[in-house]
């Protein structure tokens, strides 16, 4: 910090966290941008409100992912209005229960030096 002469008003910066209203405004702005970017429309107001709730949850999830995975960038994607369950059901499809057959060919070991 720098010393401030008595005759000069020190610059006061807000150091408290954002209010809930501010966060909601940010989320609404992000959601509007998300809908425009990915061409998302919802049939009813109820559906819209539900998806907005999911979107806000995914913003928090992206923030957690960012903390756990700091070398990548996590944020809004085209899947941001889907719950994790919807995402798994509609966009993943590797059957976990399937196992490799015991008689599957094993690739020969290749040289990797030089």
């Amino acid at each position: 910090s720098a010393a401030v002469p008595n005759d000069v008003d020190p610059l006061i910066q807000q150091v408290v966290s954002e209010s809930d209203d501010d966060q909601l405004l940010h989320a609404e702005r992000h959601f509007s941008s998300f809908k425009a970017t990915f061409g998302k429309t919802y049939a009813t107001q109820e559906e819209h409100d539900y998806r907005f709730g999911v979107f806000k949850a995914n913003l928090r999830r992206a923030k957690r992912h960012q903390a756990l995975d700091p070398t990548a960038v996590h944020g809004v994607t085209k899947f941001s209005d889907l719950t994790p369950k919807e995402f798994r059901r509609n966009f993943l499809g590797l059957k976990r229960r399937l196992r490799l057959p015991a008689d599957a060919n094993k690739a020969p070991i290749l040289p990797t030096g030089d």
Partner: protein, 232 residues
């Protein structure tokens, strides 16, 4: 092994595709591997039909009752290779285009353009994975996709990530120097082709750290070899 390698630079990878709302990632992973193998065999890059696999491949794991490839409900790349081996091969994308829904099989054997001659699973050793990638073309791999829903770009090196694989992608290359600022060092990474369109990730691609089976990426890796089949 080269320090950096990318099959996209060598013309062995088709443009990023979009599976839509359909759990057919396994089909895209399998066709991607066969497209690369076909390129190595013939020098020709041909986009192959995922819809043929979605509609016609119901190959089952004989060791587990009820576990069969089932279109948009999921499947496994190795089962798809087994199907392609038995059916004779795959048609071109344009001859059997993708619709993203389960439909009846319309496979026309006379339109086969690429056939499987052999496929193998690769050990979880990362040097072996890299060696097979360089020698045999892009590889079909499974991964835990939990971090992919929110991924925008960069090299993904999650501190914690499940090893339970649930998504099929295509390993097309690797790099040696993705800088990880928070760890203050260069991190090597794999380059994965996804099937969620170009608007996802880095123009449809995902970079994930190499070195510690991150998100199970080394657990299920398969290589396939192609036969050249003339399409008259």
């Amino acid at each position: 092994l080269p320090a950096d390698f990318d099959w996209r630079d060598k013309g062995a990878v088709t443009p990023v595709k979009d599976q839509g709302s359909c759990g057919s990632c396994w089909a895209f992973s399998a066709t991607g591997a066969l497209e690369g193998a076909h390129y190595l065999e013939t020098g020709e890059l041909v986009s192959l039909s995922e819809q043929q696999l979605v509609d016609c491949d119901h190959e089952c794991d004989p060791e587990e009752y009820g576990s069969c490839d089932s279109g948009c409900s999921g499947g496994l790349m190795n089962n798809a290779f087994e199907y392609a081996l038995k059916a004779g091969g795959l048609e071109r994308e344009e001859d059997y285009p993708y619709t993203g829904t389960d439909d009846t099989c319309k496979f026309d054997k006379s339109k086969i353009v690429s056939s499987v001659s052999n496929f193998s699973v690769i050990s979880t050793d990362e040097d072996q994975i890299a060696a097979n990638l360089v020698n045999h073309g892009p590889l079909a791999v499974g991964i835990n996709a939990v971090f992919m829903q929110t991924y925008v770009g960069g090299v993904s090196c999650p501190y914690i990530c499940g090893k339970r694989i649930d998504h099929g992608v295509l390993l097309v290359g690797y790099g040696s120097s993705g800088f990880a600022p928070i760890r203050l060092k260069e991190k090597p990474y794999w380059i994965l082709k996804n099937s969620w369109g170009q608007s996802w990730g880095e123009q449809g691609y995902y970079k994930i750290c190499r070195g510690y089976n991150s998100c199970g990426v080394d657990s299920l890796v398969s290589t396939v070899a192609a036969l050249h089949t003339s399409n008259k």
